[in-house]
Symmetry: C2
Subunit: 242 residues, 2 copies
């Protein structure tokens, strides 16, 4: 059984990294990845909060960007409460953890910085959004407490034997393995370059939004390696001189 | 719908009181009771961690003992991971919150101090124990993170419409209301005094354990007011000079 990696993006307080490590170990998660934390890591305050979960911090890996941190992943979820103008499936912690268990793919769950949460760019990478249901009076969760909820739900779903979610859009019988995020990113880079070349965006100010929406379409499709190769071919061929 | 009160017993770090308040507001709980916190309350560091949940701290009530804090309650749960030599039902967070929803009684959930957890004396007051399932590698949860899990599960159970637990031992059709903890305590005091009088314990060193077990029997019975009155009568009559 593959267990998901927790990816903390631009975390401001080392205490939250430590509390995250402790919650991970409480609920059976071990792989922590840190994207450019604000304070130097390893960090004394993080270890203080981690307590007996120091091994999670010892094994944590640092990455310069979110893209790098998820390059080897097959599925990425973004934990965020913010409503976004993106067409992405939104899951409860229960739905997401059940899905992760059933997919049994290399999966990362992204958590954004304390004040701002995940950027739209980082959220775009994700296949789905995890939103923790909260009371209307206060919907903003502390980052380490969000990790607690999702890690707890992960262990719960596992103990329940991975109760099926309502519907599973992924083709589990597909012969070709799912594309890694790195492969998908390679396709995106080629596509963006080509679209730039052909002046696809018309008005430059519109590019950011349009490009995000485009990437979301392909991300949502859960492409296999074979399909990414096919799409590479499509771009190459469409771009051929006639 | 009655929502449970959170009772923090002898909390050492004001930060944990603040983080508890925030988690409570996140998941729809409002009533916080503090039993003799180690540092003076209200406390600046607690408010810093509470963030936008300062109203929960504003309304928190202080009590000298756990008994006082739950005197007006009809049900008490103890959140603890420690195995105890007590015959008490042990519930998962899901089972406990479902039960609390269905009972719709005045309920408190006790959380012990950071280092030691709840004392046996405080656990004895409880009708049931809530134990959060954890991975074997690290079973000790931070107190505020325990509150997060139980408060999250409370909101989840409520959103699910209070899915029935497997079995409900409480007689919800009982005509007499359940005894409050204060009424039960009044009975215990009378019983203990009488047992002391008759030298029931034989060996003094054995009293503590024996008395705890005895109290647990009556606590587990979920006595109604009428039943407590009856038991008072039983003691009185048994103690009459013949």
């Amino acid at each position: 059984m593959l267990t998901p990696a927790i990816v903390l993006v631009n975390t401001q307080l080392p205490e939250n990294i430590g509390a995250t490590a402790r919650a991970m170990m409480n609920f059976g998660l071990g792989e922590l990845r840190l994207v450019a934390p604000r304070e130097i890591f390893p960090n004394k305050r993080a270890y203080e909060l981690a307590g007996n979960a120091s091994s999670v911090l010892d094994n944590a890996r640092l990455f310069p960007t979110t893209r790098d941190a998820v390059a080897d992943m097959e599925r990425v979820y973004a934990a965020t409460a913010r409503q976004r103008e993106m067409v992405k499936p939104v899951y409860t912690p229960y739905e997401a953890t059940t899905r992760i268990l059933q997919d049994n793919l290399k999966t990362a769950i992204l958590f954004g910085p304390e004040r701002t949460g995940l950027s739209n760019e980082d959220t775009t990478i994700a296949d789905g959004i995890i939103t923790i249901p909260t009371a209307s009076a206060l919907s903003s969760l502390n980052i380490a407490q969000s990790v607690v909820v999702i890690a707890y739900q992960w262990l719960q779903s596992g103990m329940a034997g991975g109760v099926p979610a309502d519907n599973i859009p992924f083709n589990l019988n597909n012969k070709s393995p799912f594309a890694s995020k790195e492969e998908l990113q390679g396709f995106f880079e080629r596509l963006e370059r080509k679209l730039d070349d052909v002046d696809f965006w018309n008005v430059p100010e519109k590019k950011q939004k349009m490009w995000m929406n485009l990437q979301n379409i392909f991300t949502r499709a859960n492409l296999t390696e074979q399909e990414v190769r096919t799409l590479h071919g499509v771009i190459r061929d469409l771009n051929k001189p006639v």
